[in-house]
Amino acid sequence: MKSGSNLERLLRAGHFAVCGEMSPPQSADSSSIAKKCGYFKGYVDAVNLTDNQTAIVRMSSVMSSYYVLQCGVEPIMQMTCRDRNRLAIQSDILGACSAGIKNILCLTGDHMKFGNHPEAKPVFDLDAVQLIQMVKKMRDEKQFLSGDEIKQEPKVFIGGAANPFGEPFEMRVLNLAKKIDAGADFIQTQPVFDLARFQKWMDAVREEGLDKEVFILAGVMPVRSAKALHYMKESVPGMRISDDYIKRMEAITDKEAAMEEGVKIAVEIISEVRQMPGVAGVHIMPVMWESITPRIVEQAGLLPRPELPADEPAVTGLER
């Protein structure tokens, strides 16, 4: 056990994990976080707190993870390299761990160009692979990146991201292997809207035996309209959307019914990826629609969420 987080214990015990995702508020008022926690408590095993996603300023992921923890939900703090250099990242990690945050998702971060401060200085002092390696060094070797000793190391479950849908395809598997080499314990993928491509990626991952070395959580994004799918297909680079889903969403004109169809598609994708060997869980990420999470988890047959006592050791011999 590397961190003892709920997510880590469930995955090591062989349970199919469910993660949610929440965007911190664009304000100095934290009350919306407590409200949103109601959508997650008892429905997901841990919830991602995004770090200025799409480079739009929001409350810091460190503070919002802390609020989420206080609400009794386990946070996965996202940490990007866009806004901080190596000093700031390390100090934020120390602070977060002192507050009891046990999962960190290490990302490179979206470029400023897409956000509300495109004129800002891009930092990118490290990249995601180097960030994962640094956090592992802090945890396992009890050392800062400089080599200086850390008295109390940050005990964290280290996450990384993978995009099975970006080009070049072969590089996507190589990149995953590199993140595992660097020290990633779990991987969350970009949202699956192209099952064939995801299957192809998982096949390549299994061929290299990478699914045995890391827990892979497939991304699932419920959408409310055909417009959202069109937007992602045309304007979000690195996404692949199967035309079937677009046609199904387009066929429905009623707003309420379209939302139902969106839920149905998400549930279908969950049941498909759940059957693929090597997929250890799902990461449900409704953008600005957190309230739908409980319904999707319920309809996918993932309730009740298993609860493990804090000191229960891993049951299976999975060495990941």
Binding site: R82, R86, T108, G109, D110, H111, K113, P122, F124, D125, L126, D127, A128, V129, Q130, Q133, M134, L145, A161, N163, G166, E167, P168, E170, M171, L174, N175, A177, K178, D181, A182, Q190, P237, G238, R240
Partner: protein, 132 residues
């Protein structure tokens, strides 16, 4: 690196004008050929002789998630994703295994210094010339 090359690098470092000439010579070659970004810690031999520092996120370990279907960059759609190019070239040149190596964080102190002399002085890892 050998003692001779190390001493040569140290000699150049002690003589600023000579060092400037070395930087000039290196840049005269690397800037037009590789569009070198002058990071001072060249990893061209690992990245199929394509400079990854041209990436807007300066990714030295592989592409970000945003490469478009046609291989273009998410930030500058008029350019190719540098890792898309690196992958294609590495495959053609038989240097794919070299991409697997984890590249260390950039030492920002070495920016605008001579990568060649840094190799001689043992400040950075030597290049890996051979194929996989």
């Amino acid at each position: 690196m050998s003692k001779v090359s190390e001493n040569f690098a140290k000699f150049c470092e002690k003589h600023p004008r000579l060092y400037a000439c070395a930087v000039l010579a290196e840049n005269a070659f690397k800037k037009p050929v590789f569009r070198c970004q002058d990071c001072g810690q060249c990893i061209l031999s690992y990245t199929a002789f394509t400079c990854p520092m041209r990436c807007p996120k300066q990714m030295r370990n592989g592409p970000c998630g945003g490469t478009r279907e046609d291989g273009r960059c998410e930030v500058y759609p008029e350019r190719h994703c540098i890792w898309w190019l690196i992958y294609r070239r590495a495959k053609r040149m038989g240097r794919l295994k070299k991409l697997r190596r984890i590249q260390k964080p950039v030492d920002r102190r070495l920016q605008h210094t001579s990568a060649w002399l840094n190799v001689f002085a043992g400040k950075i890892d030597p290049p890996s010339w051979g194929k996989d």
